[in-house]
């Protein structure tokens, strides 16, 4: 801990000492004789040097340049023209130059940018911002284009290129590129490449959109269309007030292949503006969107549209991650500093993805800065993380990120939530069922002893590494590793007091370790501008161990020690080796084909042993899965786009072939309104089983479907909706209906007792279910105040014969309202999120009764309500936060300090209830989720 603090204070000091204007990096030279207005001169320089100028139109509108240059470096040209006009310039971090008269102009210009002042002009090689914001400049440039290059008729041609982050050189996947004033558009693939066929003219302008980045434009000309176009985007600053999470549906973007249904995308770079419980959390941020439940504090996994987290496929750089959270679910397992792009498909997803019933979360890791060395990190009350990115040479980059928790107050608060020992009455005379969940064995009866309790080491960490090598323009190799582990140790050692024995101790070991190690090797190749492939070999392993045992050592007066051991040990292992090859082929202007093959070998084992000797459960299953898929994206009409696809999988445990037809489509009614729908069939072969009793064993484990006791589950999705996008807001509505078949539920019952020997009865129950709902999203996308309100009306029902028919699924939530509010004021961002959700269903005891057994000993039982027929009180909470950007005078953001309060009004939301029988009376106690929890996060980066 001390080391971490030291490191951070050092990096703090270093970054603060580096207050200076950045050097101007350009080798461009200017030649010619100019008698033009200053603004035109700046445009000319901007085009040559790839620099963007930001200036107050009023300040320089009357300045005329009359000068001659011969192979003069841009730096000299700028010095000369500015000096002679009593102007200065300030170079920004991302090669943006502010033109100022005096130092105070810099903050003034930035303020103008903040409020979107129409006098603030931008210029660079691919010109300006939005048309509306810059009417004069656009008019001027357009005029110039018309004058200089009279339109000539050309045959439609193909362009291809790449979208990157201008600062780091990182490729940007899923960016949307649209040819202005046409309905031609496309999106970049996972490596940032795009191809547009049938571009009508070489004077067209491309509009580029990417969440979290400034919208940009790129003007085509007869030269640049001949080679690969590289478009560099700039991270949006707060002045543009882009929203962090954008429901990226078909919307106004009239794409031919970008109109997607039920897709959410997130920009990790801007996550710090939302309140957090200790960490910027990628998966938790999705929980603020409609259709993804926000009331499960103990799971950062996604409950999407009535599905469970194991029905959500989580891919990190192509490999499946089985353990998506840390610390019993409070934090997602992904370090936001190592993540570039996260896309969630809430349903009806493409046939490219499979193996899960509900949804897909596709996470793409950062490749690392290809331009310069950078180091940064965050520290909060929970954890510290550090990342390093650097170009190794001009062809390869490296990114390393490490995060580790420390046992600070926040960590302990959450840890203790899961490890409270409840005193319980156990069956004495007249006693009944052992109430409550009990603590770990040995949990009771400690009172009165002077305890020496050791503090065990308990922590989580994760590590990301990615190496990318691009030998040429066509090939790209990347190797990505992720490892995350939790070591949760609640062990206690209690020394026996001397009046009991001459010495001895009770050691209660309660240790849970779980984690995931995954790695993928990816080869991307651009065979031709129209054919692109991505081939991936990966492995992913998951492990979960639970050791809950007691060791009692008693020493007699002679010092002889007697040792007694008992306890339970659980072990769950999963190994997954996978290969896949995904291909994209732009067949024709409006037809694109996606196809691929995949194969994986999975090996799952689960052991449950008693006293280290007898294995009560020892399961071991191996399965091979293989298959292929194809999907075609085409537009039969101008406004209609359809994506039919099919996926077929062979699963060797059942020996059957599973076909999954999928179909999705969008119809653009007009500029603003898009209708969309999708449907499909989905199969799942690997299930995570949740144990009922959350304190007395590992909470969940993975199993493979075997076709008999655990069948292969399947689902049908039917989704329809529309989105309406106006200038400043977006409305998105989607309804869904999902049927689920062959769901598995598991219960484990311990039979007998120590006297008779313990055996475990395992019950797998099979049933079906359905979920339905409608989601509304109203989002304000521009201005100082941004945010959204989302509302979901939903129902999730299961039907298991073993539970007496239909009942509300445990994750069923009728109403869920979320309000996310962000307000930008100078360097501050204030945010408040409020979540309201109907209480979760639960099964409760209704009455009790006592009968005597034959021998006359009373036994008390609880009668239980129908499965999940009761409802917990509503869940609601308010989180607030304030974020202050640390900005150097050259306005580079080098970090931020965030203050957040989770559950600001300290609402006692009930997590579950427990029951115990004391003096024949049934005592119900509530176990609550986290109360008011403050947090501070400091983030810093070197560059």
């Amino acid at each position: 801990m001390r080391r971490i603090l030291l490191l951070f204070s050092m990096s703090c000091a270093l970054s603060l000492s580096a207050f200076a204007q950045r050097p101007l990096k350009t080798d461009a030279v200017i030649s010619g004789f100019f008698t033009i207005p200053m603004e035109t001169m700046l445009d000319t320089i901007a085009k040559k040097s790839k620099i963007r100028f930001i200036y107050d139109h009023e300040m320089i509108k009357n300045i005329q340049i009359t000068d001659q240059f011969h192979q003069e470096p841009v730096k000299n040209v700028l010095s000369k023209i500015f000096k002679s006009n009593d102007l200065h310039y300030w170079v920004e971090s991302d090669q943006e130059i502010y033109i100022i008269k005096m130092p105070e102009d810099l903050p003034r210009l930035k303020k103008m940018a903040l409020v979107g002042d129409s006098n603030l002009f931008y210029s660079n090689q691919h010109a300006k911002m939005d048309k509306k914001e810059l009417p004069i400049l656009n008019a001027k440039l357009n005029a110039e284009v018309i004058n200089v290059k009279p339109q000539k008729k050309v045959e439609p041609f193909t362009i291809n290129g790449k979208v990157i982050d201008q600062n780091t050189g990182e490729s940007l996947p899923s960016a949307i590129i649209k040819v202005r004033n046409t309905n031609i558009s496309t999106s970049t693939n996972s490596d940032g490449y795009f191809t547009i066929l049938h571009v009508p003219s070489d004077t067209c302008t491309l509009e580029i959109n990417y969440v979290g980045y400034r919208r940009d434009t790129y003007e085509l000309n007869s030269e640049n269309i001949k080679k690969e176009i590289v478009i560099g985007l700039f991270i949006s600053v707060k002045s543009l007030n882009e929203v962090i999470v954008v429901g990226k549906k078909g919307e106004s973007v009239m794409t031919t292949d970008k109109r997607r249904v039920s897709v959410l995308q997130i920009s990790p770079a801007k996550l710090d503006e939302l309140p957090n419980i200790g960490e910027r959390d990628i998966l938790r941020s999705f929980q603020l969107m409609p259709g993804i439940s926000g009331s499960n504090e103990s799971s950062s996994g996604a409950y999407v549209r009535g599905g469970t987290p194991d029905q959500n496929l989580v891919l990190f750089d192509g490999f499946t991650v089985y353990q998506v959270d840390h610390l019993y679910g409070f934090f997602s397992a992904f370090n936001s500093n190592s993540v570039k792009d996260v896309t969630m498909y809430k349903g009806g997803f493409s046939s490219k993805y499979g193996g899960r019933l509900s949804s897909v979360t596709d996470i793409v890791g950062k490749e690392g800065n290809s331009k310069e060395y950078n180091i940064g990190g965050d520290i909060s009350l929970l954890s510290a993380n550090l990342y390093l990115e650097r170009p190794i040479n001009d062809k390869s980059t490296l990114l390393l990120a490490y995060r580790r928790s420390y046992e600070g107050p926040l960590y302990n608060k959450i840890f203790n939530k899961f490890n409270t020992t409840t005193t319980s009455t156990t069956g004495g005379p007249g006693g009944g069922p052992s109430g409550g969940m009990g603590g770990p064995p040995g949990g009771g009866g400690r009172g009165g002893f002077s305890q020496t309790v050791t503090t065990p080491a308990s922590a989580f960490y994760d590590l990301n590494a990615k190496y990318t090598y691009a030998p040429d323009q066509k090939n790209r190799f990347s190797w990505s590793v992720y490892q995350g582990n939790d070591n949760l140790d609640n062990s206690k050692t209690i020394e026996l007091p001397s009046f009991i024995s001459s010495g001895g101790e009770i050691t209660n070991t309660d240790k849970t370790t779980y984690g995931n190690l995954g790695s993928s090797l990816k080869w991307s190749r651009r065979w031709t501008p129209k054919v692109y492939s991505n081939t991936l070999a990966s492995f992913s392993t998951y492990h979960s161990n639970r050791d809950n045992s007691n060791k009692v050592t008693i020493a007699d007066s002679l010092g002889n020690e007697t040792e007694l051991n008992n306890g339970t040990f659980e072990k769950n292992r999963l190994k997954d080796f996978s290969m896949k090859s995904d291909w994209e082929w732009q067949v024709k202007d409006k037809v694109k084909a996606l196809f691929g093959v995949y194969a994986s070998n999975q090996d799952v084992s689960y052991e449950y042993s008693q006293n280290d000797t007898s294995k009560l459960i020892d399961q071991h299953t191996k399965a091979n899965i293989g298959g292929l898929y194809g999907e075609i994206e085409f537009s039969p009409g101008k406004n209609l786009q359809i994506k039919p696809g099919i996926r077929s999988t062979i699963y060797d445990q059942t020996g059957k072939v599973y076909f999954e037809p999928r179909l999705s489509g969008t119809y653009t009614l007009n500029d603003k309104l898009t209708l969309k729908a999708s449907t499909g069939k989905f199969y799942q072969f690997t299930n995570r089983v949740i144990r009922e009793d959350i304190l007395s064993g590992s909470r969940d484990f993975w199993v493979l479907a075997n076709g008999s006791s655990i069948p292969v589950s399947s689902a049908y999705h039917y989704i329809a909706g529309f989105s309406y996008e106006a200038d400043k807001f977006l409305i998105d509505v989607e309804g869904y209906y999902k049927t689920l078949n062959n769901l598995s539920e598991y219960s484990q019952r311990q039979i007998g007792n120590r006297r008779t020997g313990i055996s475990l009865e395992e019950h797998f129950y099979t049933g079906s279910g359905y979920t339905k709902g409608i989601e509304f999203l109203i989002q304000k996308t521009k201005g100082k105040y941004t945010g959204w309100i989302s509302y979901t009306l939903a129902e999730a029902k299961n039907n298991f014969e073993a539970y007496g028919g239909e009942f509300a699924a445990s994750q069923d939530t009728r109403h869920e309202l979320k309000s996310v509010n962000l307000y930008h004021y100078g360097r501050w961002t204030f945010s408040a999120t409020w979540i309201f959700a109907t209480g979760k269903p639960y099964t409760a005891p209704l009455t009790s009764y006592t009968v005597n057994d034959y021998s006359g000993n009373a036994r008390t039982f609880l009668t239980i309500s129908d499965k999940n027929s009761q409802r917990l009180p509503s869940y609601h909470r308010l989180d607030i936060s304030a974020l202050y950007d640390l900005i150097k005078i050259d306005s580079r953001k080098i970090g931020s300090i965030g203050f957040s309060i989770f559950n600001a009004y300290n609402r006692g939301n009930i997590w579950y209830q427990q029951y115990s029988i004391v003096n024949n009376q049934v005592i119900t106690s509530n176990v609550n989720y986290l109360g008011l929890t403050p947090n501070i996060t400091l983030s810093l980066k070197w560059k």
């Binding site: 069956g427 005379p429 009944g432 069922p433 052992s434 109430g435 409550g436 969940m437 009990g438 009991i500 024995s501 008693i554 007699d556 007066s557 002889n560 007009n670 309104l673 009922e692 009793d693 529309f722 309406y724 309804g735 019952r749 039979i751 007998g752 006297r755 008779t756 339905k772 409608i774 009306l793 129902e795 639960y842 099964t843 005891p845 209704l846 009455t847 009790s848 009764y849 006592t850 009968v851 057994d853 034959y854 021998s855 006359g856 000993n857 009373a858 039982f861 609880l862 009668t863 239980i864 309500s865 129908d866 027929s869 579950y912 209830q913 427990q914 029951y915 024949n920 009376q921 119900t924």
Partner: protein, 265 residues
């Protein structure tokens, strides 16, 4: 405004869909069935038939047993004759003829309560066969702290169980003035041994020293299921097993064999 018109249509459509989707009635989760009576009856050949009927208890009740349900008309049929039980005490219904319960016969209980017929059925299991003990004496070493305890040597009971039936052992102290050897105060310790054919005694089976009777009961599965302990929290609650239709509790036949055991410390 075409857009507005479109929107209006859409919202209307959505409204209709919502109303349709969510208008299905909620199942009324009737104030749980507090009305179900609790039945307790152990049918043993040669003993008079006795059936207790109680109310359930509310969760906050502190009474040991539910209040008795009085004034019921209980009938038990053995297939040929149908006898009526008499209420001898509040909630305790008996049939005095000790010969009514016979080996291997099936008995059916029925009575009506709050417009419902409460019924249960059981068959008397066969008498345990070949019940033997490895010893007629059991030493229970004193619990000592600080010195190595003397090893407890169990007595092994065995019986014939070729068909994996369920068995229960009831270890009963029969001394008039028993002397305690443990903190436990039960005079009768009952062990559901399950579908086994041997049992080794443990120290905790014995609370008192002196003469004991060890009764091996051949029981029905319903007894085993109804009386085994279950744990419960809101995530792990299961209804207790019962063979009483429209009721709770147990109506079951048992058949015992007995051995003597002397316990000393």
């Amino acid at each position: 405004m075409e857009i507005n018109k479109n929107l209006k249509y859409l919202f209307t459509l959505i409204f209709i869909v919502i109303v349709y989707c969510f208008s299905s009635c909620q199942k009324d989760n009737a104030a749980a069935d507090y009305a179900r009576p609790v039945v307790e009856a152990y049918l043993i050949p040669g003993q008079a038939l006795q059936v207790k009927v109680y109310y359930q208890k509310y969760l906050e009740d502190t009474i040991s047993y539910g209040f008795p349900i009085t004034g019921l008309a209980l009938k038990v049929s053995d297939g040929t004759s149908n006898v009526s039980l008499t209420e001898t005490k509040s909630g305790i219904y008996t049939y005095a003829d000790a010969n009514f319960i016979k080996d291997s016969k099936t008995y059916a209980l029925s009575f009506s309560y709050l417009d419902k017929t409460i019924s249960a059925q059981t068959t008397i299991p066969s008498k345990p066969a070949n019940f033997k003990a490895s010893s007629t004496q059991q030493e229970v070493p004193a619990m000592t702290v600080g010195s190595t305890p003397t090893t407890f040597i169990p007595v092994t009971y065995s019986w014939a169980n070729a068909t994996s039936d369920y068995y229960m052992l009831s270890i009963q102290n029969i001394e008039t003035y028993p002397s305690s050897i443990s903190r436990n105060t039960r005079l009768k310790n009952e062990v559901l041994v399950g579908q086994v054919s041997t049992y080794n005694t443990e120290a905790m089976n014995f609370s008192y020293a002196g003469n004991h009777k060890v009764l091996l009961f051949h029981i029905n599965k319903e007894y085993n299921d109804a009386l085994k302990n279950i744990g419960g929290n809101s995530l792990n609650l299961t209804n207790p097993s019962t063979n009483v239709i429209n009721g709770l509790g147990i109506f079951t036949g048992l058949r015992a064999d007995t051995l003597d055991l002397f316990v000393y410390q």
